[in-house]
């Protein structure tokens, strides 16, 4: 949910209530949309969807919050659920043990919840129990890490890892302004993960478009100390750098520490994931951080909203299509000083 629509939520809910009084709550008729459109611009089309409807019991389970982004997922999900009087959210303990996460989903099935929003620790490992939930008539919304069967979820919400790389690469190209001998460095996350490979692939392709390439590449492990180590090695290896893309803002805390220690200032840094402290640095403009690309930490919150729509048999407000889409892939925008205010409210604290 964007900042503006959050601010207008109250108005939107009010508008929704008005339309509720006029028309049946599950209505998707054009008239209903028109009523909302008159009330407020920002929440146009979603007004009737925000109106309280049938009670929805949603179970939510995610991996352990051992990373700023993962912690933000659960927090954003809980905050979003609180905004709706018709949602009852049951949150299971965050865990990296697939055995425990499977039993949490089994417990949700026993509790006869209406929907399950699941960010699996391991998509493949949670697939069998997700299929079991779907067979029990429960709407499963898959978040961030994909199941390996299409029967395991009604809707899947994904970030865009390759898109992150493309966004970062395109931004670097713009800033280099045709400088052909620019030295570009990349600090990746855990190298063997498919998501890291996708990010690097996108970065490489976008750079190739303007005739640049990655000259120096190191990999960290998404933690502060690994970021510090990788960046220190990188700065040793490359005497002159023009731009660095760091995949992850959590490890970025360590990366910036290493850069500070080295006293180097000849390059700029683009972050990844989009943590609030990085955005504040970009806004202040007094560090080498000039931009970051977002990997939304609001995926779980979006999952809860879609689960609610699915159970209440409503459509996605601004689409003509009367069913909620099968797959929603979120965008990876570049955040710079110019547009940081738009993204700061939904950024995560690392």
């Amino acid at each position: 949910m964007s900042a503006r629509s959050a601010r207008f939520l109250k108005t939107a809910t009010l508008a929704g209530l008005t339309s509720l009084a006029l028309i049946a709550c599950t209505s998707n008729t054009p008239e209903a949309k028109k009523t909302d459109g008159n009330a407020t611009q920002a929440a146009a089309g979603s007004g009737s969807n925000d109106a309280p409807g049938q009670k929805v019991k949603i179970g939510f389970s995610a991996p352990a919050a051992d990373h700023g982004w993962m912690g933000a997922i659960t927090k954003a999900t809980q905050a979003e659920a609180k905004k709706y009087s018709d949602i009852e959210l049951i949150v299971a303990e965050g865990t990296n043990d697939v055995n425990l996460q499977i039993s949490q989903v089994e417990t949700f099935i026993n509790q006869k919840v209406d929907a399950i929003v699941l960010l699996p620790f391991d998509g493949a490992a949670l697939t069998p129990v997700a299929i079991k939930a779907m067979e029990a008539g429960i709407t499963v919304v898959n978040v961030d890490r994909e199941f390996d069967s299409t029967f395991a979820a009604r809707t899947t919400i994904l970030g865009d890892n390759k898109g992150m790389g493309i966004s970062a690469g395109t931004y670097v190209c713009q800033e280099m302004k045709g400088k052909k001998d620019a030295v570009i460095a990349e600090i990746a996350g855990i190298d063997s993960l498919p998501l890291t490979q996708a990010r690097s692939q996108g970065f490489k392709e976008a750079l190739a478009d303007c005739g640049l390439k990655v000259n120096n590449r190191v990999a960290a492990e998404f933690t502060v100390e690994s970021g510090e180590k990788a960046a220190a090695n990188l700065l040793q290896a490359a005497p002159k750098i023009d731009a660095i893309w760091n995949h992850d803002d959590d490890q970025g805390v360590g990366v910036m520490a290493a850069i500070k220690n080295s006293g180097r200032k000849e390059f700029f840094v683009v972050g990844g994931a989009g943590s609030a402290n990085v955005m504040r640095d970009i806004k202040a403009g007094n560090t080498l951080l000039k931009a970051t690309v977002i990997y939304p930490s609001t995926q779980g919150a979006d999952g809860v909203r879609l689960a609610r729509l699915l159970v209440q048999k409503k459509a996605l407000g601004d689409l003509v299509e009367v069913e909620v889409p099968r797959l929603v892939q979120l965008y990876a925008p570049v955040v710079t000083k110019d547009n940081v205010d738009q993204y700061l409210p939904t950024a995560f604290e690392s």
Binding site: V91, D97, V98, N99, S103, Q111, F121, D122, A124, A125
Partner: protein
């Protein structure tokens, strides 16, 4: 049953809380099976851990051994063999890998004279690293359907996983309480020097205990493979802590010489039921960890009282 009275009371109390707060779901057959299925995997690991701890050792590598066994038993080569002949290949691979790791642990401790904490810490790092190398950190999906169908299915209304847990627990009880092997385990754990003077081959016995723990990890790996239809280097994370916690609150002395399989089973059931009750009531994520911590502290405090009473008869 007398000395497990406290555990029975704790479990009954937990169940009462569950029935009062979420009776319509908690007291259903489906929910009981959910608790038992969760308890089964960690339960089998804990049975093996009970033997090692009773024998005066500790095994920090159980989670890593589960991961390595699950990965090794689901490689393309193993799955091909299983598909061509029988899924028993996957099962025996997992059991062999687990036992082999246990053997290395045992040899390092008994003959290498490395303290168990360090030897198994090395195995923890090594086995998980090897699992990552073999799997290239990717999740290996099991495509041998007969394997999944058998272990994921039910016999007489009870999941096969739960049967396996019951069988391992029953065998463990018989071996520990009704055989020479069991009596030697108590002797070695209580006082290794006295056991040696009494003619027990302490080193050989220690090796056997670690192999037993590794074998249990192999069985747990098979169960986890069936439950997730995958093998992965991330399986079994922190199982060593869960297992040690269950064994200790069950009443087995961390210093060795005293151990109880029944207590361990209750310990596992208490933790899994706690988990279930917290999830059913939508209680805070962190409160659950605090509750677990409290249970462990209370159990160990009680245990120390018992131990003190035991040493001054």
């Amino acid at each position: 049953m007398g000395r497990n009275l406290g555990l029975v009371v704790a479990l009954v109390l937990l169940c009462l809380v569950g029935i009062i707060t979420a009776g319509d779901t908690f007291a259903t057959g489906a929910n009981v099976l959910t608790i038992l299925r969760l308890a089964a995997v960690i339960g089998v690991v804990s049975i093996g851990m009970t033997f090692v701890i009773t024998g005066g050792g500790i095994d920090l590598s159980v989670g890593a051994m589960v991961a390595l066994a699950s990965v090794w038993a689901t490689t393309l080569a193993t799955q091909q063999m299983a598909a061509d002949f029988h899924w028993i290949f996957m099962v025996s691979t997992a059991l062999l890998v687990g036992s082999a790791c246990g053997l290395v642990n045992g040899l390092l401790v008994a003959y290498g004279k490395i303290v168990p904490f360090i030897a198994t810490l090395a195995m923890l790092a090594g086995a998980r690293g090897l699992a990552e190398i073999i799997s290239d950190r990717r999740t290996q999906i099991i495509s041998v359907n007969p394997f999944v169908d058998f272990f994921g299915g039910s016999l007489i209304g009870v999941p096969v996983l739960v049967w396996l847990f019951l069988i391992v627990a029953a065998l463990g009880w018989v071996v520990l309480n009704r055989t020479t092997f069991g009596r030697r385990t108590f002797a070695v754990g209580g006082n290794a020097e006295a056991a040696r003077l009494a003619g027990i081959k302490v080193q050989r016995h220690t090796v056997a205990l670690y192999v037993l723990a590794g074998l249990c990890c192999g069985i747990a790996a098979v169960m986890l493979m069936a439950r997730t239809t995958t093998g992965s280097s991330t399986h079994g994370q922190l199982y060593e802590l869960d297992a040690i916690a269950a064994v200790v609150i069950g009443g087995t002395l961390l210093s060795g010489g005293r151990g109880t399989i029944v207590g361990t089973v209750f310990g596992v059931l208490i933790f899994t039921t706690l988990n279930n009750v917290f999830t059913l009531n939508n209680l805070s994520i962190s409160a659950q960890s605090v509750a677990k911590g409290l249970i462990i502290v209370i159990a160990v405090l009680l245990q120390q009282r018992l131990a003190a009473r035991g040493s001054t008869p």
